[in-house]
C-alpha cells in the first residue's frame, strides 16, 4: 500500500526545487523535472500493483475541512491520464520553451500536482482549491508563454470563462455544504438533498462543465486560448483541464444526486447540437492546429452527451472516450507542433506530399487521424461505440450523432489528402528520433486500450 499523499507531494517538491535551482544552474532544470515526473509515474504504477492507501488530515475542524485523499469509483481512469499525459508534454516543452524555464517548469509541476490532487481528493472544498490553483497557474502559463500577439487576449478570455465556471462550482459546493453539512464526498452522497436544491446545484455544475469541456455555446474561449498556447500547454489544456468539468459532474451529479440527474436528460440535445456545430466549424479550418482544436472540443461534447444521459453504459463509454481521446488529442497536437516546426506553418494549403518527404510523420498522422475516426483496434472505437450504444437506449434518435461523425470523416480525410498525398516539397525533413519515440508510446497506449479495453473498464466502478 502506497499513500496517495506521495502522488501529490512529489510533484510539489519538484516545483519548489525548480524554483530554487533557478539561480544555480539553468541547464539542470529539465533533468530535475523529468526525474520528478518519472518518479511520480513510477509510484503510480507501483501503487496500481500494491494498492493505494487513503490519507486524511484535519485542516479546519470547525467546518470539518480535511485534507482527505482517497479514491472513488471513477478516480482511476482520470488519475491515469493525469499522471501519464504530462510525460508527453515534456518533449515539446524542451523544444519550445527557451526562456524563463524555471517559471515554466515550476508552474508545470504545480499544475501536475494539482490535477492529480483533483482526481484523488475526497473533500469538495479541497477539490475546489486544487481547481483554482490549476486554473490560475494555467492563466499564467498562457499569459507568459503564449504567442506574443494574441496571448494577452487569450489568457484573459481563459481566465474570465474558467473563473465563471469556478464561481458556479463554488456556489454549487456551498449549497451542497449548507444542505448536507459536510464537504466529504462520502457523506454528501449518502445524505438527502431536497429536489429544489439539487436542481440548482446541478444546473450550476452543468454550466461549469459546459464551459470547461467545452460545449457549444460556451466553447468560445477555447479557440484563442488553445491557439495561442505552445504545444505542451495545449496538451495540458485539451487532455486534462477539459476533463475536469465532466469529472465533477459525474462525481456530484451522477454519483451523488442521481435521482435528480435524469431530469437534465434533454440537455443531451445541446451536446448533439454542439457535436454538429463543432464538426462544421472544424471542417472549414485550413490550419491543422485549429482543426485539431475543434475536433478535440467535438469529442468532449460527445462525452458530454454520454454523461448527461445518466445511462450507466453511456457513462462507461464516455469515460473511456475521454481517456482515449486525451491520448489521441495529445498526439494530434504534437503532430501540429511538428508540422509547424518542419514547414514553418501548419496551414494545410501550403503543405503536401508528406508521405514522400517525411514518412515517419505521415505514418503517425495516419495512425492518429484514423484512430480518431474510430478505426477498430484503436481505443476510440470502443469509446464511441459504447457511448452510442448507451445513448441509443435513452432515445433512438440520438443515433443522428453518426451523421456528425461522417462530417468528421470528411474533414479528416481531406486533411490527410492535403498533407500526406501529392508531390513533396523540396527541403522538408522528417521528425527527429525523440519525437518518434514520444509518438510511438502514445500509439502503443491507444492500441493497447483498443485491443484490451477491459484494462480500463475494470478499474471503473460507478460508486463513491
Amino acid at each position: 500500500m502506497i499513500s496517495l499523499l506521495l502522488l501529490l507531494v512529489i510533484p510539489l517538491i519538484g516545483s519548489a526545487v525548480v524554483l530554487l535551482l533557478r539561480r544555480i544552474e539553468d541547464n539542470l532544470i529539465e533533468y530535475v523535472v523529468e526525474t520528478f515526473v518519472f518518479l511520480t509515474v513510477a509510484i503510480f504504477l507501483l501503487s496500481l500493483l500494491t494498492g493505494f492507501s487513503s490519507f486524511a488530515f484535519p485542516i479546519l475542524p470547525l467546518i470539518k475541512f480535511n485534507l482527505a485523499l482517497s479514491l472513488n469509483g471513477i478516480s482511476l481512469p482520470f488519475l491515469l491520464i493525469a499522471v501519464l499525459v504530462p510525460i508527453f508534454a515534456l518533449l515539446p516543452a524542451h523544444k519550445e520553451i527557451k526562456d524563463e524555464k524555471s517559471t515554466f517548469y515550476s508552474l508545470f509541476l504545480l499544475i501536475y500536482a494539482m490535477i492529480i490532487g483533483i482526481f484523488i481528493s475526497s473533500d469538495i472544498l479541497l477539490l475546489f482549491i486544487f481547481l483554482e490553483i490549476t486554473l490560475v497557474s494555467m492563466f499564467f502559463l498562457i499569459y507568459l508563454f503564449g504567442e506574443k500577439e494574441t496571448r494577452a487576449k487569450a489568457s484573459v478570455e481563459f481566465l474570465i470563462f474558467t473563473q465563471l465556471g469556478s464561481l458556479a462550482i463554488l456556489a454549487a459546493f456551498a449549497l451542497l455544504f449548507s444542505s448536507t453539512g459536510s464537504f466529504a464526498l462520502s457523506s454528501i452522497s449518502s445524505s438527502h438533498v431536497s429536489f429544489f436544491d439539487s436542481i440548482i446545484i446541478l444546473s450550476l455544475m452543468i454550466f461549469a462543465a459546459m464551459i470547461e469541456s467545452p460545449v457549444f455555446p460556451l466553447h468560445v474561449w477555447v479557440t484563442d486560448a488553445y491557439d495561442s498556447s505552445p504545444t505542451p500547454i495545449v496538451i495540458l489544456l485539451s487532455a486534462l483541464v477539459s476533463r475536469l468539468g465532466l469529472y465533477f459532474l459525474l462525481l456530484i451529479g451522477f454519483l451523488s444526486l442521481s435521482s435528480t440527474f435524469t431530469v437534465f436528460q434533454p440537455l443531451m440535445w445541446i451536446g448533439v447540437l454542439s457535436v454538429f456545430y463543432l464538426a462544421f466549424v472544424a471542417m472549414a479550418q485550413s490550419r491543422f492546429k485549429r482543426m485539431a482544436i475543434y475536433s478535440s472540443a467535438l469529442y468532449a461534447s460527445l462525452a458530454f452527451v454520454g454523461v448527461m444521459s445518466g445511462n450507466s453504459t453511456a457513462i462507461y463509454g464516455s469515460i473511456f472516450l475521454m481517456v482515449s481521446y486525451s491520448f489521441i488529442t495529445s498526439a494530434v497536437f504534437l503532430i501540429a507542433g511538428d508540422l509547424k516546426s518542419l514547414n514553418g506553418t501548419d496551414d494545410m494549403t501550403f503543405i503536401r506530399g508528406l508521405l514522400s518527404s517525411s514518412p515517419h510523420l505521415s505514418f503517425f498522422l495516419f495512425v492518429f487521424l484514423l484512430a480518431s475516426l474510430g478505426l477498430p483496434g484503436f481505443s476510440n472505437f470502443i469509446g464511441e461505440f459504447v457511448t452510442l450504444l448507451g445513448i441509443y437506449t435513452v432515445s433512438p434518435w440520438f443515433l443522428v450523432t453518426l451523421a456528425a461523425l461522417l462530417i468528421v470523416t470528411a474533414f479528416y480525410l481531406n486533411a490527410l489528402k492535403r498533407l500526406a498525398f501529392g508531390r513533396s516539397i523540396k527541403g522538408i525533413r522528417d521528425i527527429p528520433r525523440t519525437e518518434i519515440v514520444n509518438l510511438s508510446f502514445l500509439a502503443f497506449i491507444i492500441i493497447l486500450l483498443g485491443i484490451l479495453p477491459s484494462l480500463l473498464f475494470n478499474i471503473v466502478g460507478l460508486g463513491i
Binding site: F161, A284, S312, T409, K417, F421, S454
Partner: protein, 575 residues
C-alpha cells in the same frame, strides 16, 4: 482451431516490415496465403465445425463477445478468398517491380487477413471490426500511388462512400444488440420471430445500405471506377474476393433476416437499376479497367438480385465464379498495362496486341462473363436465376444480351489487331493465369460437386438457354459492329455518366463545405464577440489603474462625487 486460418496472414503482416527485397517479401506473403488456403481447404474437406468464442469486455450485464465459427458458407468463402489471394500474390512480383513494395505487401496482407476474419466471424461485433478494417485498408491501397492527384482523390472518395455504409451497419448492430442483448449472428437469425416487423424492416434497410455502399451499388457506385487508380493486382483482389464482395457476403449472411421482411422488393428494384446503369456506362467506356469496374458493379447487382429472390446459395456460387473470371480478366489487363503501357482500349487497338497467348485467356474470361456454356458463368447463371419470376426473367434476357454486347465490344476493340511483339510469360504470370483459365473452363462442373457441402438449386430450363442464346447473339452483334465494321459506339451518356451523377455527388460534398464555411464565419463572430469581453476586461483594468494614481486631491474629488451620488439615490428612495 479455426483461428489457424487467420494466423498465417497475421504472421506475414508482422514479418513484412523486417524484410527487404521484392522476392523475399513476395515469398513470405505467398506462402502465408497458400498456407491459409491449405488449412481452410482441409477444414472444409473434413467437415470441421466448431466455434471459438471469447468475452472481450463486459459492462454491467452486457457482454461484448467475439467469436469465430466454421460454418459451411464461411468455410467455402475462406477457401475461395485464400485461393484468389494466393493467385493475385503470385502475380504481384511481376506487376509490382519498383516502388514501396514493403508497404504494398503489408497492406495487402492486412487486407486478406481482414477479409478472412470477416467471413469466419460469427459475432456481429467482430464482423464489424473486420468490415471496417477492410474499408480502411482498401483506402490505403487505392491511395497507394500517393504522389498522383487522382489516386488520392479516389482513395478519399472510396472511404467517404463506404463510411456511410459502415455507419449504417454500426446502427444496425446497435439496434440488434439493444433488442436482443447478443452479438451472435446465428442467435440473431434464430430470434427473428420475436422482433416486430417494422423493427426488422428498419434493420434490413440499414444492412442493405451498408451492403450497397460496400459493393458499390447505386447510388454509391461512383467510387469503384475511380478506385482503378490502385495497382492492378489490388484491383483484382478488391473486385474478386475482398472489398466489393464483402457487401454481397453481408447480404448472403443476413438473407434470412432480409427475406423475412418486405424489403426484397426494394432490393430487386435497386439492383435492376444498378445493373442497367452500369451496362449503359460500360457500353461507352474506353478505359479497360473502368469498364471492368462497371462489369463488377453489374455482377454484384446479380448477387443482390439472387439474395432478394431467394436463391441465396446460387448467389454465393455466382460470387465464386465472378471472383474467378474477374480476377483472371484483371490480371490479364495488368499484363497489358505492363507490356503496352496503356489502359485505353482504342490505344491498345492501334498498338495491336493480339496473339494466341494474350487473346485466348481473355476470350475465355469474356465468355464466362457473358454466361455462354460451357464456361463457369453459365452454370452460375443457372443457379442464381432459379427463383426468378416472369418479369425478372424478361428483364434478365435483355441484360444478358447487353452484357455480352459490352463484354465483346471490349474484346473486339482491344484485341482487333495482331501484334508483332514477341510476348513471353514468366513463371509468376503462368501459374495464376493458367490456373484461373482451367477453373473458368472446368469450374462450372463443380456446381454438381458442391451440393455435398451446401445445397444449390439450379436448372437448365428453356429460360437459361434463351439467355445463353441471346448472349451469343450479343457477341455476334459485337463482332459485326466492332470487328468487321469498326463502329465507334458512343453509347448513352445519359444521366448517370461520370459528368452528371458524379458531379452531383461531389456538389453535395462541396455544399457541405460551403455550409461549414458559413458556420465557421458565424463562429468567428461569436468568438470575436466574446473576445471583446477579454479586451473589455483589460481596458477596464487600465481604467481602474488610472483611478488609483496616488493623488490625494483626486481621491477627495471622487469621494465627494460619490457622496453626492449616494445622497441623490437616498433622496430618490425616500421621496
Amino acid at each position: 482451431m479455426i483461428a489457424l486460418i487467420l494466423i498465417p496472414m497475421l504472421v506475414s503482416m508482422i514479418l513484412v516490415p523486417f524484410f527487404k527485397g521484392r522476392k523475399k517479401l513476395a515469398f513470405i506473403s505467398i506462402s502465408a496465403s497458400f498456407l491459409s488456403f491449405l488449412i481452410s481447404l482441409y477444414f472444409l474437406l473434413i467437415g470441421y465445425s466448431s466455434t471459438q468464442s471469447i468475452t472481450w469486455f463486459t459492462i454491467g450485464s452486457y457482454a461484448f463477445s467475439l467469436s469465430l465459427t466454421a460454418s459451411r458458407i464461411g468455410m467455402l468463402m475462406a477457401v475461395f478468398v485464400s485461393f484468389i489471394s494466393t493467385m493475385v500474390l503470385i502475380f504481384s512480383p511481376f506487376y509490382m517491380k519498383k516502388d514501396g513494395t514493403r508497404r504494398y505487401y503489408f497492406e495487402i496482407s492486412l487486407f486478406i487477413f481482414s477479409m478472412l476474419g470477416m467471413v469466419l466471424s460469427s459475432s456481429l461485433l467482430l464482423f464489424y471490426i473486420f468490415w471496417e478494417l477492410i474499408s480502411i485498408t482498401s483506402y490505403l491501397l487505392i491511395g497507394f500511388y500517393h504522389q498522383k492527384e487522382r489516386s488520392s482523390q479516389a482513395a478519399r472518395k472510396a472511404l467517404m462512400m463506404t463510411r456511410i455504409g459502415d455507419f449504417s451497419l454500426l446502427s444496425a448492430m446497435i439496434l440488434l444488440f439493444s433488442a436482443l442483448k447478443t452479438f451472435s449472428i446465428p442467435l440473431i437469425l434464430s430470434s427473428i420471430s420475436f422482433l416486430s416487423p417494422s423493427f426488422l424492416s428498419l434493420v434490413s434497410v440499414l444492412i442493405f445500405i451498408a451492403a450497397l455502399a460496400k459493393s458499390a451499388q447505386f447510388p454509391f457506385y461512383v467510387w469503384l471506377p475511380d478506385a482503378m487508380e490502385a495497382p492492378t493486382t489490388v484491383t483484382a483482389l478488391l473486385h474478386s474476393s475482398t472489398m466489393i464482395t464483402s457487401g454481397a457476403f453481408l447480404m448472403i449472411l443476413f438473407s434470412k433476416l432480409i427475406l423475412s421482411t418486405t424489403i426484397p422488393v426494394l432490393v430487386i428494384a435497386i439492383s435492376f437499376l444498378t445493373i442497367f446503369v452500369s451496362i449503359l456506362l460500360a457500353l461507352k467506356e474506353r478505359d479497360s479497367k473502368r469498364l471492368m469496374a462497371y462489369s463488377t458493379i453489374e455482377s454484384m447487382g446479380f448477387i443482390f438480385l439472387a439474395v432478394s429472390t431467394g436463391s441465396v446459395n446460387g448467389g454465393l456460387f455466382y460470387l465464386f465464379s465472378h471472383g474467378i473470371f474477374k480476377a483472371a480478366s484483371l490480371l490479364l489487363i495488368g499484363e497489358l498495362i505492363i507490356w503496352f503501357g496503356t489502359r485505353d482500349i482504342y490505344k491498345l487497338k492501334r498498338i495491336g496486341i493480339r496473339n494466341n497467348s494474350t487473346f485466348i485467356p481473355m476470350l475465355i474470361a469474356v465468355l464466362s462473363l457473358s454466361a455462354i456454356p460451357p464456361f463457369i458463368g453459365f452454370f452460375a447463371h443457372s443457379a442464381f436465376t432459379y427463383d426468378f419470376n416472369l418479369y425478372e426473367q424478361v428483364l434478365f434476357v435483355i441484360i444478358s444480351f447487353l452484357t455480352a454486347l459490352f463484354a465483346f465490344r471490349f474484346l473486339f476493340i482491344a484485341y482487333r489487331d495482331r501484334t508483332s511483339m514477341q510476348i513471353k510469360r514468366g513463371i509468376y504470370q503462368k501459374i495464376p493465369i493458367w490456373t484461373l483459365v482451367i477453373l473458368m473452363l472446368l469450374g462450372g462442373f463443380s456446381l454438381f460437386v458442391i451440393q455435398k457441402i451446401i445445397l444449390i438449386p439450379y436448372s437448365f430450363d428453356p429460360f437459361i438457354l434463351v439467355c445463353a442464346a441471346v448472349s451469343a447473339i450479343g457477341a455476334y452483334l459485337a463482332y459485326r459492329m466492332f470487328y468487321i465494321n469498326d463502329t465507334t459506339f458512343e453509347g448513352v451518356n445519359g444521366l448517370f455518366g461520370r459528368f452528371t451523377y458524379d458531379n452531383m455527388l461531389s456538389s453535395i460534398g462541396k455544399s457541405f463545405y460551403a455550409a461549414s464555411r458559413g458556420v465557421s464565419v458565424i463562429d468567428d463572430r461569436f468568438v470575436g464577440a466574446y473576445g471583446s469581453i477579454g479586451f473589455g476586461a483589460i481596458n477596464l483594468s487600465y481604467f481602474g489603474r488610472r483611478l488609483q494614481n496616488g493623488d490625494v486631491g483626486f481621491y477627495i474629488d471622487i469621494l465627494l462625487v460619490g457622496f453626492v451620488v449616494l445622497l441623490a439615490i437616498l433622496a430618490v428612495i425616500v421621496l
